[in-house]
Structure formats: C-alpha cells, structure tokens
Amino acid sequence: MASVAERLQVSPFMTFFVIVSMQIGVGVLGFQRVIAKTAGHDAWISVLLAGASSHLILIVLYWLLQQADGDFLLLHQRLFGRWVGGALSSLLALYFAAMAFVVLRTYIEVIQVWMFPDLKTWEFSLAFLFLCLYITVGGFRVVVGIYFFCLIIPSYLLFTFWFVLDYTDFYQLLPILDHPPSTIVKAAKQMTLTMLGYETILLFYPFIKRGNQSAKWAHAALLTTTLFYALLTVLTLAYFSEKQLQRQIWPTLTMWKMVELPFIERFEYIGIANWLLIILPNVCLGLWCSSRICKQLFPVRQKTALLVIAAICFFSTLLIHDRKEVDFVNTILNRVGFYFLYIWIPCLAGITYIVKKVRGNV
C-alpha cells in the first residue's frame, strides 16, 4: 500500500519546499496581532517556542512513519482495528479538506477587503478550485512543481521588508521576558495555526525517494519557517506600537504600504496578487491529501474523491459570509490542528510504543 512507483516520486530535497510552502500560508498576513495580544512584545519568544516544539513533533512523526513503513493510515488500522481506524482516518481527511477551504476563504476575504470589494465569492472560489483540480489531477509531481515555483517566485517579497526598517524602533522590544511564562506559552499555542502544515508529511512520505533521508530537509524547512516568522514578528513589534498592533487585522499588509518604488505607488496590490501563488499550493495539497485518504479508505478513484471534496469546499466557502465567521472557522481549525498534532500524535506514539513492546512489531 505504501510503495509508489519510482517515476512518481520526487527527490528528498523537495520536502524542504513542500513543508516551507505549506507552512507559509494565509496566516502570515495576520498572525502577529493574535500572539501580541497575549504575549505583548515578547511574542517573538513564543514564535521560537512554537518552532522548537514543531521540531519535536516532527521527530515523533518521522518515528511513527518508520514504524508504519511509510503508510500512516495503516498504523491507524493496525492499532485500532478496521472500523475505528477508518473513522480516525476519515476525520483526518475532513481536517485536510477543511484546511483547504479555510485557507481559500480567508484569502478571498483579504481580496474582498483590500482589492475588490465587489468580488463575488463564488466566482473566485469556483475558478480557483478548478485550477486546483487541474493541478492535483496531474499527480504529486505536478503538485510539488507548483510548490517549488510558488516558493521561489514570491521570495522576492522578503526584500520588501527592507523599506519598513526606516520606521522601526527596536527598543520597543525591551524589556525582554517581562511577561509571565504562562502567557508566552499560551501565545505559542496560538502560533501553531500559522505553523501548521507539516503534518501533511504523513501522507506524502511514500512519494519521496529515499524517504528516511528526507528528515534533514524537513527539519531544515521547519527551521527556516521558524526563523522567518520570528524575524517577521520582531519587525512587526518594532514597527507598530502594541496598541496600534491590536487595531490591525493584517499587520503584514499594512507594513507593505511602506514600500516605495519609483514606478509603483501601492505595493500591497502586488503583494496580494503574489499571495495567490503562496496559498495555491496549500489548497492543492489539502485537496490532494484528503482525496488520497478517501482513495485508501473507500473504494473510490482518487479523481472522483477529488471532485467531491472540491465541490464540498466550494459550497463551504459560500456559507461563510463575514469577518466574524472567517475568524470562527480559523479558530476551530487552529484548535483541531493543535489537538491533532500536539495531543493525538504523542498519544499515538505512546500507544505504538507500548504495542510494539507487547507484540514485538506493529
């Protein structure tokens, strides 16, 4: 079940691009406000904490994958039997599908607020999902190709933060660690939504050539994302005052207003248009993972499952109307992701360990 033909596999170096690109999604635009509300100007420490914890979880994920010979769903099945294991796996499919639709809807909201107030949700959602279908039908190699380009091409946006430096005051970060540790840990918990994305390795691990060598690239990816988010948080905290930050839903976009180029006045339009490239792989992989789980659990073809899931995502995007509801689904996804990664995975690891000791082999 876990072996995939070699011509469909990608090199382990690609794991880096997939994980970085998956983690940097629509959360980057507005995560700073949430963590600064709890931890204030020590929020960057929460980011580093969240990053460190993600490394630990990744180590557990890799261990689980190796126990299961690369097929995570098989692990569910072996430990809990066919029906309960199947139910757990379908919850995972639901989670990935939800991830896809939440990312899409949040992005559409950003467009509707910043660029085109009268953009119809269903128009853009439909076109976007068609594009995602076109990509995912090509298979994992095409999806990874999209990841690769969608990380390399928007990377020039990093240089735009140079313009903000003139207006920053790093003394706002002092005094360090004057918030109680509980708030810092709480902010780290809130940070995990933005850091989510690497759990997809559970699904695409069989598609990596020499999978056991991909661990170093995955960790490198997590390190890169953590450093990127930490730097961005530091920059945001230095640029905005705390009260100012609380009034910004999307601080990153506001910071882009500072960019001054001789031939472009309002850079955030270009930033948002480029953001399409950044969230495209997230939605694609969500759809791909979800349909792949369906293919392995139920007797359907992956293409059929993909169509059904894409249709469900489309209708779900129509149901969410305003800021409050977007916020609500984001919070729910955050909680579910957090519980899955930080509570369920360690439990699973514990159970696997015990079962391995008892049975000898899973």
Partner: protein, 471 residues
C-alpha cells in the same frame, strides 16, 4: 506515359537489351555518359558481367517485382536480356536536383558557420557526418508515410545518448500512421508527448553545427528527407530561448544577451495585460506623474482599455499575417503603410492612445527576439488569455493566469523527460547553460536531464591552468 522500355543492341556481342525506366526520375546525362557506353560497347554474356563492368556502385540483380517497382519509381534503370525476363539488373541513375547550400534564414548568426540544411537527406547527412567523423555516430533509417514513403533518419551517438531516449524515438516513428509525410513538422506533431499543447516539445533547427553540438551533448536528432529542418529531442523550455550564436560569443556577453531575451519575453507577455489591469482597476498603482501622461493620452478614447488593446493586438497580428503572405516587393510597402500609417492615424483619430501603441509595438518586437520560430508563435498566443484574465480580475487575474500557464508547463514532457528541467526538477549543474552560459572550461559535464551514458565531456583539470603571479 513516362514509363518507357527501349530495346538496344550491344555492338560487340550482338545481344539485345531491354532497358526500362521512368523518364522524369532518371538523370539522362548520367545514363548517357556512364551507363550506355558500357551497355552497348563492352562485351558481356550475362547480367553479372555488366554489373561488374559498370562504374556505378549501386547496381544489383533482382527478380522481386515489388523491389523492382520501388526502385523504378526512385529512378533506377531496369535492364533485361529478354523481354519476358523477370530477372534484371537495377542500375541507379537518379536525378538529383537540389538547392545549393545557403545561409540559414531563420537562425541566422553574425559570426559562425553559415551552412544550413537543405531538402536532400543525403546532403544533410553529409553535413552532419563531416562534423562528427567518428564511427559511433549511428544513423537508423526508416520509411514513414504510406503514400510518400519518406526516408527518416534517426541519428545519435552510440555510447553517449541514453538508449531509452533512442528507443522512444524509434518506437514512436515506427507507429506513425500517415499517408503523405511532407515535412519534419508533421512528424513533430504526431510524435509529440502532448499534442494539444501550444508549446513545442521538440526543437527544430536548420543549422548543422547546432545539431552536431547537441548530438555531442547526448540528444537524438530526427532528419526527414524533403525537410530542411532537423528535429532534436529531448529538449527543455530554456533551450527555446537560447540562440546558437551564444556559443560563438564571449560567455559574459552571451549570458547578458540571454538574460535580455528572457526579460523581453516576459515583458512581451505581461506588459499589455498589466496595462489593462492597472488602467481598469488599479490606477492607484501608477505614480502621479506617469498617471498624468496616461490620463492625457486616454482622454479622447471612447473605448475601455481592453478594447483598445484587443484592437491594436489584432492589427499587429493582421500585419504579420499579411506580410507573410504577400510577395516581397508588395510586402515591404504594405508593411510600412500598415505599421506607420495605421498606427499614427489611429492615434490621431482617437481610437487608441499613443502610450498603448508604443507598448504594443515594443511587445510585438520583443516577441520576435526568440531564436526559435515556433516558440515565438506560442508567446504571441499566450498574451491573449492574460489580457482576458486581466480584464476580469486585474492583477489577481494576471497572477491566476500565470499559475495556469505554469501548471500547463509542469504537465509537459519531451520524450518522457520533464520539460521544465533544469528549473524543476532542479538540476543545479544544468543551470550552467540555462539562463546564463558559463565558459567552456566549466562545461565539462553533459546535461543531467539527458541521463547520458558518459557524463564527462573532457578532463576539467587539464582544461584549466593555474598560474601564480609572475610565473
């Protein structure tokens, strides 16, 4: 009736000969000079004697009616001793009329050799073989086309080219079902991996030096009799933007020109959609001074930007099509009339703005910088979906269309190899000849995408010499 049978009598031995041939195919001069003197004046008693006496190398005795028929149609003479004989001597006397070797018209280069392929397969193979005079240069001949029976030669260097690539090509050519195979572009369209894509997946060239260079890299060449264009595969997208002249210039200059070419292609595709997007939705993007110029230029135009753009783009396409069909003398006048008069007049009439005219003209010019003709057509086509998406969703539409094009490119393969290498899958070593061209001393390995059997071209350490100061 151009099939003739004549009876001749040999002077010395007194035997009669029945000579059959198809008149238009036979070279009368060769026959008169090299064949008939031996047939009519030399003594012989059987066909075998004639064969040995003739100075023509391609002469053999045959009794297979299909073979005789095929050879007669090619321009051979069929000589028999009796009228009802089935066995006879086939003598080659083909008329070979072909173009003289000229300069390449499509891929002209200022420096470098100026020989180009012509329609005759024999001459083309000669041009190629004199550049790679080794025995490992393998030529596999086959015939394609039920009516035209065109000779197709698949050329590769044994020991360097990957056998999988060669096998793919040979297999696909075997499976071609067509009646009249006129040109190599017919073959391209039939054996391409993705027939429905506007992007060409096999490179076509008319320069023998280019073919020799790529064969040395490990590619496979397909030559078709009757076509001056030779196909090369497997190929990647970046090769369509590299002119062969880059290899004749210094590497810094060549890299600079390549980057300019890439920039001009991007500019050509994106500038008109960005014009439409910014003027429709995002006029706040443009700095104030430029905005003033743009607004002034558009003040009297009754159309929205999209109609202006479509009008001008279609005019340029019309000019190009018309210019391609007209005979040379008339074509030049019409080109000038069309280009200058229509352009200036439409600005003065208030149908288009002068800024847009400049942009469209520059974009059209930039699309002609591609060295390979086929990809230039693709680029001109690519512009239109971008314009439509820009009209719908502004800059977001441009980004969206870009994603669609990128996905399409990711799907493409050339003879089974990924089309976007060395970008994706990333082959860092192959980047030495993609967007920039590193000097020849750095190019000691063959491209990884081809998976050649012998990746090392030459000994790198010997190529570079290290000298200390004042040594």
């Amino acid at each position: 009736m151009d099939f003739q049978t004549k009876v001749y009598r040999n002077d010395t031995s007194g035997l009669y000969l029945w000579v059959s041939y198809i008149k238009p195919m036979v070279d009368i001069e060769t026959v008169a000079r090299s064949i008939f003197p031996y047939l009519f004046h030399r003594p012989f008693s059987s066909l075998e004697d004639i064969r040995q006496a003739l100075p023509i190398d391609d002469a053999y005795i045959s009794s297979d009616p299909n073979d005789v028929k095929a050879k007669l149609l090619e321009g051979y003479l069929f000589v028999r001793l009796h009228e009802t004989d089935e066995t006879g001597l086939l003598i080659k006397a083909q008329k070979t009329l072909e173009r003289t070797l000229t300069i390449p018209e499509v891929e002209f280069s200022v420096v470098g050799p100026k020989e180009s392929f012509i329609e005759s397969l024999e001459t083309n193979l000669y041009l190629l073989r004199k550049r790679i005079p080794i025995d490992r240069l393998t030529v596999k001949m086959t015939r394609v086309g039920t009516l035209s029976k065109t000779k197709v030669a698949v050329v590769y260097i044994d020991g360097i080219a990957n056998p999988d690539n060669v096998q793919t090509v040979l297999q696909r050519i075997e499976q071609v079902e067509f009646d009249e195979m006129i040109d190599s572009s017919y073959i391209v369209q039939i054996i391409s991996d993705n027939r429905h894509s506007p992007f060409p997946q096999l490179l076509d060239t008319e320069r023998p030096d280019r073919v020799a260079a790529v064969l040395a890299e490990g590619k496979v060449a397909i030559m078709v009799d009757g076509s001056p264009h030779v196909l090369i595969g497997p190929t990647t997208l970046v090769e369509f933007f590299s002119s062969f002249e880059d290899y004749f210039l210094n590497w810094t200059i060549a890299s600079f020109f390549r980057l300019i070419r890439l920039f001009s292609v991007t500019f050509s595709i994106l500038i008109t959609p960005i014009y439409v997007a910014t003027l429709n939705y995002h006029y706040e993007l443009i700095p104030k001074d430029l905005l003033g110029t743009l607004i002034t230029s558009r003040r009297e135009i009754p159309f929205p930007p999209i109609l202006e753009v479509l009008f001008l783009e279609l005019t340029i396409e019309l000019l190009r099509e018309a210019g391609a069909r007209l005979p040379t003398k008339v074509g030049q006048t019409i080109g000038i009339v069309g280009g200058i008069v229509i352009g200036t007049a439409s600005v003065e009439a208030g149908l288009t703005s002068n800024v847009l005219l400049i942009l469209v003209a520059l974009a059209a010019l930039a699309s002609f910088t591609t060295p390979v003709y086929k990809i230039g057509n693709t680029i001109r086509l690519m512009r239109f979906p971008f314009i439509l998406f820009a009209e719908m969703w502004g800059l977001l539409g441009v980004a969206f269309c870009f994603c669609i094009v990128m996905t399409h490119l990711l799907y493409l393969t050339s003879l089974g190899r990924p089309f976007l290498a060395p970008l994706y899958p990333p082959r860092w070593r192959d980047l030495k000849d993609a967007f920039i061209r590193l000097p020849f001393t750095s190019q000691s390995k063959r491209p990884e995408t081809l998976r050649t059997e012998q990746p090392i071209r030459f000994n790198r350490k010997k190529a570079k010499e290290k000298r200390d100061i004042d040594e």
